[in-house]
């Protein structure tokens, strides 16, 4: 079922919000297209994991958060970072190990963090941020900030025991945290049903945590759910657990090119052709007369130009000086 059939009629007073959702998704796609290109052309050190296909998840959720709310992200973290308000320039600089990157080049793609916008960081340990997000929720509660935290993780992280320990405590202590499980059907090269016994959501239900499942390709559905849960978490009704059904378009990482041994080309083509979160939302915007195809096309071009300019900037930017290598091991004072 396409989005335009399932969504309620557009509300004209929300036009700016709709366009922002669209724009944020388009930004993530443009960022990833450029990151992939940087890898393929040998300009990016190391490997990176593309978020393309999953944009509606990060955008739908992060648009429901304030700047001060916290998120923790994953190895597939560019989308969360953009959605939480990061700038292309600092992000590309980080991916290239340049001094002006968000982490002064020390973190790279898998550790990108944006403190000012409440992104506590990507994480190269699967499930590694579950404790951090829950701890941020504990701090918000104790400090009375009204803050909410969202822990993004993949289906693969359901294998990690840490997650169950912290969900138990979050439930016992009624912490304002939302566990956002992005089920993109694979953990690396293995299907989710070969890694997780039983129902995914049942895990959280066992702790008495309210759980939801949502089409992670439908940005409005994700956003509507997130707005509701965030508001309730602020009132002390958390924690919550959400399974978001989604799909990654690229390989597990940019180097994972020949992947037919674990998933078919037909399956990939089907998701791209029929369930693309940006295309479908764009169609709906047009059908609901929120935007014209020309306007969306223009928006896409603007975003692409912005990304390209940031890449050029980052390519020319300097590396950190050698004396930064042993800086930041300990807090200075």
């Amino acid at each position: 079922m396409s989005l335009s059939e399932t969504a309620a009629p557009a509300r004209p007073e929300n036009a700016a919000t709709y366009l922002r959702l669209y724009r944020q998704m388009a930004k993530i796609r443009a960022f990833e297209d450029n990151a992939n290109e940087l890898y393929l052309s040998g300009k990016m050190p190391g490997l990176t994991h593309m978020y393309s296909g999953q944009e509606a998840v990060a955008v739908g959720i992060c648009e429901a958060l304030t700047k001060d709310d916290k998120i923790t992200s994953t190895h597939r973290g560019h989308g969360h970072c953009v959605a939480k308000g990061a700038e292309f320039k600092e992000m590309f600089c980080e991916l290239l190990g340049k001094a002006e990157g968000y982490c002064r080049g020390k973190g790279g793609s898998m550790h990108i963090a944006d403190q000012d916008n409440g992104n506590l960081g990507a994480n190269a340990i699967v499930g590694g941020s579950a404790g951090i997000a829950t701890g941020a929720a504990l701090a918000a509660k104790r400090l009375g900030t009204q803050g909410v935290s969202v822990c993004f993780f993949g289906d693969g992280a359901l294998g990690q025991g840490l997650l169950y320990e912290v969900m138990n405590m979050a439930a016992l202590w009624k912490l304002p945290v939302i566990y956002a499980c992005e089920n993109n059907l694979y953990g690396e090269y293995t299907k989710v049903e070969e890694m997780a016994a039983g129902a995914l959501a049942a895990r959280a239900k066992a702790f008495g945590i309210e759980t939801h499942e949502v089409d992670g390709q439908d940005v409005l559905a994700v956003n509507r759910l997130a707005e509701d849960l965030v508001e309730r978490a602020r009132k002390g009704e958390g924690p919550f657990f959400v399974v978001l059904h989604t799909y990654r378009y690229h390989g597990h990482h940019v180097g994972d090119i020949n992947r037919t041994y674990y998933r078919s080309k037909e399956e990939e083509a089907d998701w791209k052709a029929n369930r693309d979160p940006i295309t479908n939302f764009g169609k709906w915007l047009v059908a609901e007369k929120i935007a014209t195809p020309e306007e969306l096309g223009q928006l896409g071009e603007d975003v692409a130009r912005e990304a390209k300019a940031a890449v050029d900037y980052a390519l020319a930017a300097p590396y950190p000086p050698a004396d930064e290598v042993d800086m930041h091991v300990y807090v200075a004072a």
């Binding site: 050190p45 190990g97 790279g108 550790h111 992280a157 690396e188 090269y189 293995t190 590396y319 950190p320």
Partner: protein
């Protein structure tokens, strides 16, 4: 002799042992069809089937613990830990359970398992995928620790590890998987606790582990052209450690630098240097030198990462300074 990659050598060692002993099973993430992200285990599931090559969920403490229990009750499991950095997740199972079981049971129980993992920086993989953590496990009595420095060592040490009745942790340098070396067709084992003299020399001893062998060999070539002859010792296993070979070399050369990719502080370089200082002090003409990885988390930026590991240039310079009798400053 034919030359094969380190990756192939590991694959052969496991396949040969699994053919010989049906109690050997292998567990880890994406070890079956995918053959691991490094493609080291390709083909094994086709030969041995999914009952013996077990794809696990992303549950490192869980499958390591399962290996411990299976090892205590008749199996010989090989655990594939995708990155050495994930050792921090499995430390309880490895160090509190596997390492101590034989001792705590008064010798009645044993844990014949192998945990294969990797080490090595400069792959631009940042702080959680680049660490060399062998010193951490070497610190725990009850665990043996092997560090192959080439395809030849990788095969011979792994076969020995699989036959050992103790828990063994084996660290492969992930940057060396495609490096080739001569590996005989015929079966061979490399005994634990036997260092190898890779190069003879009269002036200075380099004790070099794993890929630091390559650093030492390059430095030795440069130095040789200048008339300085370095001897290179590869300990091959750091637990047990072949002290005798190291001490004999130092007694001959009177000088030593220990090179290892773990962090320099509280690590392998410190341990080996201390043993030399304790047991060959009166033969020394200079303080024992150490070169480890810089005491910083591994940075992502290539501009910074390359500064954190020992290089042939820095080792050669350090050797020259040692021979000139200059005081040594911490690296």
């Amino acid at each position: 002799m034919r030359e094969i990659t380190l990756s192939k050598a590991v694959n052969e060692a496991i396949a040969e042992e699994m053919r010989r002993d049906p109690t050997i099973i292998l567990m880890g993430e994406d070890v079956a069809e995918a053959g691991t992200p490094f493609k080291v285990l390709s083909g094994l599931v086709e030969e041995f089937g999914p009952e013996r090559i077990l794809d696990t969920p992303i549950s490192e403490p869980g499958f390591t613990g399962i290996a411990v229990g299976a090892a205590m009750t008749g199996m010989r499991p090989i655990v594939d830990l995708m990155f050495g950095d994930f050792l921090f997740l499995v430390m309880d199972q490895l160090c509190n359970q596997a390492a101590k079981t034989h001792y705590m049971s008064g010798g009645k129980l044993s844990v014949p398992m192998v945990l294969r993992t990797n080490m090595g920086a400069t792959r631009r993989s940042a702080a959680q995928h680049s660490q060399s953590l062998h010193a951490l496990v070497a610190h725990i009595p009850g665990l043996k620790v092997a560090m192959p420095s080439s395809a030849y060592e990788a095969k011979g040490l792994l076969k020995t590890a699989i036959r050992d009745n103790n828990p063994v942790v084996i660290f492969e340098d992930k940057l060396m998987y495609q490096d080739k070396a001569g590996v005989p067709e015929e079966e061979y084992l490399i005994p634990f606790g036997e260092a190898k003299v890779l190069r003879e020399g009269r002036d200075i001893t380099f004790v070099a582990t794993s890929s630091m062998r390559q650093v030492a060999e390059k430095a030795a070539e440069t130095l040789s052209a200048e008339g300085i002859e370095a001897e290179i010792i590869d300990p091959r296993t750091i637990v047990p450690l072949d002290e005798a070979t190291i001490l004999a070399s130092v007694r001959k050369t009177g000088r030593a630098i220990v090179v290892d990719e773990g962090h320099q502080s509280f690590g392998v370089t410190a341990e080996i240097a201390a043993r030399i200082a304790e047991k060959a002090f009166y033969y020394l003409d200079a303080p024992v030198g150490r070169m480890g990885a810089m005491d910083v988390p591994v940075p992502f930026s290539p501009a910074l990462e390359d500064l954190t590991v020992p290089t042939p240039e820095r080792l050669a310079e350090r050797a020259r300074a040692t021979l000139r009798g200059e005081p040594v400053h911490a690296a």
